[in-house]
Symmetry: none
DNA sequence: TATGAATGAGCGTTCATTCAT
DNA sequence: GATGAATGAACGCTCATTCAT
């Protein structure tokens, strides 16, 4: 009975997947609606039956995936874990997102989270919610005495998220190896770097910060 | 004597500045060549007297500024400083670049360093040279016993650079306060986060990493 | 059933006809794509739905018509006729082409067959095939003893074709009367001139050439 | 004393020569004024000191050369020669013109004598004067009983001129060999073809023309 | 004379979007 | 739902011409 609705939903998904493919390879601007239609195997007019505009496609692509990230972060935050482990789970989720669908994450990172004049602005609320969520985890870590409190949670969160996104950027640009084991170690490396610091643990606390 | 040549060079600079202005506000794609000409107060044809194409303008904008970053990094690396202080100087240079000309750095970050399909690809060699330079500083820190050596210098460099760029992104998106004191503290925060770690110093070595 | 495809093909033909009209009056360079669209009564964007470029329109215009000329020449050559009658048929075909669609032949002659730097170069193979075909007819006439053999077939062919094209040029420039009877006599005149010669038949063979 | 005027005239000639070079290689439309200036080794603004416009350059190029042709034809006509010999001298002059300065003749043939919408129209009077001159020679030949009178002098003239121009076209397109001996034989071939006819002299009068 | 910076009209082309079928 | 013909705003770029120096 729902076969018709199913078929429609199926087409819709096909178009979204095609858009990911096209945007990842050509970029949002260079990727034409007709390229998406070709990739999806439909007439390009049909794209407008399912979506209001080319922008709307990227909007949906981003929002859907980002909602998962927000949901995952929210859920992680509610668990009874150390701040560090929470950050590890968030980083893991992002890395796995890339691992599972690199094209989609590439599109999101390249076309949205840094696109200050276009989609980044449109989705600013969603994006900053993720940052806030991470900042909250950091703040909780500080409150719990797990994290030092001389670093603003906002800055800490940005540093953490930036480090993670940059690793993905490294994969996107083919500057970092992207084998299975690399994905597995990446999360650990990032968390270890941001939480443990690059410096030797024995080396006492940052003289620089103290003396400054 | 060279007044005519000077005037020409001056116009050229004016067009570049106008391009920065336009690209920062409208983005590279939405920013029209005629917008740049208007902003520079010249006929749009003149833009093509000084530049081969719209692309060439952004290329030059990026390459000129990035060359300064590479040069500064190279110079920093040659100094007799701890790895941490070297990273601090590099981060400081990037932050100051933004402080001195936020529009230009916004353009670079938004339109180039993450633009995997367009300018990022074109300038990949220059971009990755910066990453390599940072990785070298990390590696030297490891060799000197200042940094732990269980984190790949490449990943460490990416984490460090990503953290810095994300702070700038925060400013660009107006998500982080961007007053004078903020600029001043930012460098310290990032370096302290990446080198010292968010975790409490007393907390010994990362249990996670060790047990994993 | 194929009404839609038919309508599309019809539009395509309409655009080609409009292009002939525009190119014949303004020349290829001065004739704008939007002029063609206006003449065809369509939006100028549609021109690019059917053709790759403005150049492609002229390419097709030429190639289609020239193919007919080549085909006609080929067919004529296969008939059991004297060389003179074959040339008469070829000349007649060209004259009739002009008579039937003077604008198209004007475009071909003005924009292609003499355009050594642009379209003439592009279509050199097609153009020279026509010359070769004529040269072959001349050569066969020589072999058969119908034509004298002291004139290179290549030169003879060029002289013949040049004479024909020049008559058309005369019509194009309005230097020769172009009434129905003129078209009818033109072929005869050209053939008679080139085959029979302007000189008096009784006058024996070229004293000049011999004495020179 | 006139050294300054001489120098100026020298520059002027240099620019004309450069224009010939450029127009012959790129065509009138594609050849830019700045290309001409480059070729002449002067600033492109200077071109406008000597010429009113780009068009004016080609106008002068054509008119100067064509005036020589008209003058030569006029002079030939005044000589006491057979019509055939007069035509031979005219053809020889044209062939020699090409031989002496192929680029200039290429420009004239490609950009003017067939350019019905642009320069051909502008110079129609000059062009048609040449045709008339040739037609007069033919007519005189008929009056003198040297040429048959069943071919209109106008058509005969067009056939003759077209044949000559087509030989030049063959050289321009590299379809005919263009060695010294080729130049020498070319005139003879054309005159022999047009005056003597391709047909065997013995062959009596054209049956076709008579019966048609 | 000579330079080349400056102008701006003009054109080919692209492509998101609409809509009749 | 599905097609793809049709639209037209928009934009990068060219280049003849002008003119201050």
């Amino acid at each position: 009975m729902t076969s018709r609705a199913d078929a429609a939903a199926e087409k819709r998904r096909k178009i979204l997947a095609a858009a990911v493919h096209v945007f990842a390879r050509q970029g949002f601007n260079a990727g034409r609606v007709s390229d998406i239609a070709d990739q999806a195997g439909v007439a390009h007019g049909l794209v407008y039956h399912y979506f209001d505009s080319k922008d709307a496609i990227l909007d949906e692509l981003f929002s859907d995936r980002w909602a998962l990230l927000l949901q995952a972060s929210r859920q992680v935050d509610s668990l009874d874990l150390s701040a560090r482990d929470k950050l590890a789970k968030v980083a893991g989720f992002i890395v796995d997102s890339y691992r599972y669908d690199p094209d989609l994450m590439k599109v999101i990172i390249v076309e949205v989270t840094r696109a200050a004049n276009t989609f980044g602005q449109t989705h600013l609320a969603e994006i900053s919610e993720a940052y806030s969520m991470i900042a909250r985890i950091v703040a909780e870590g500080q409150t719990a005495g797990e994290f030092r409190d001389d670093i603003s949670p906002d800055y800490g969160a940005m540093a953490f998220y930036g480090a993670v996104e940059q690793i993905l950027t490294g994969w996107i640009f083919n500057l970092l190896p992207a084998g299975d084991e690399d994905f597995e170690r990446a999360t650990e490396f990032v968390v270890e770097t941001v939480c443990g610091g690059l410096g030797m643990p024995s080396r006492g606390r940052p003289a620089t910060a103290a003396s400054d």
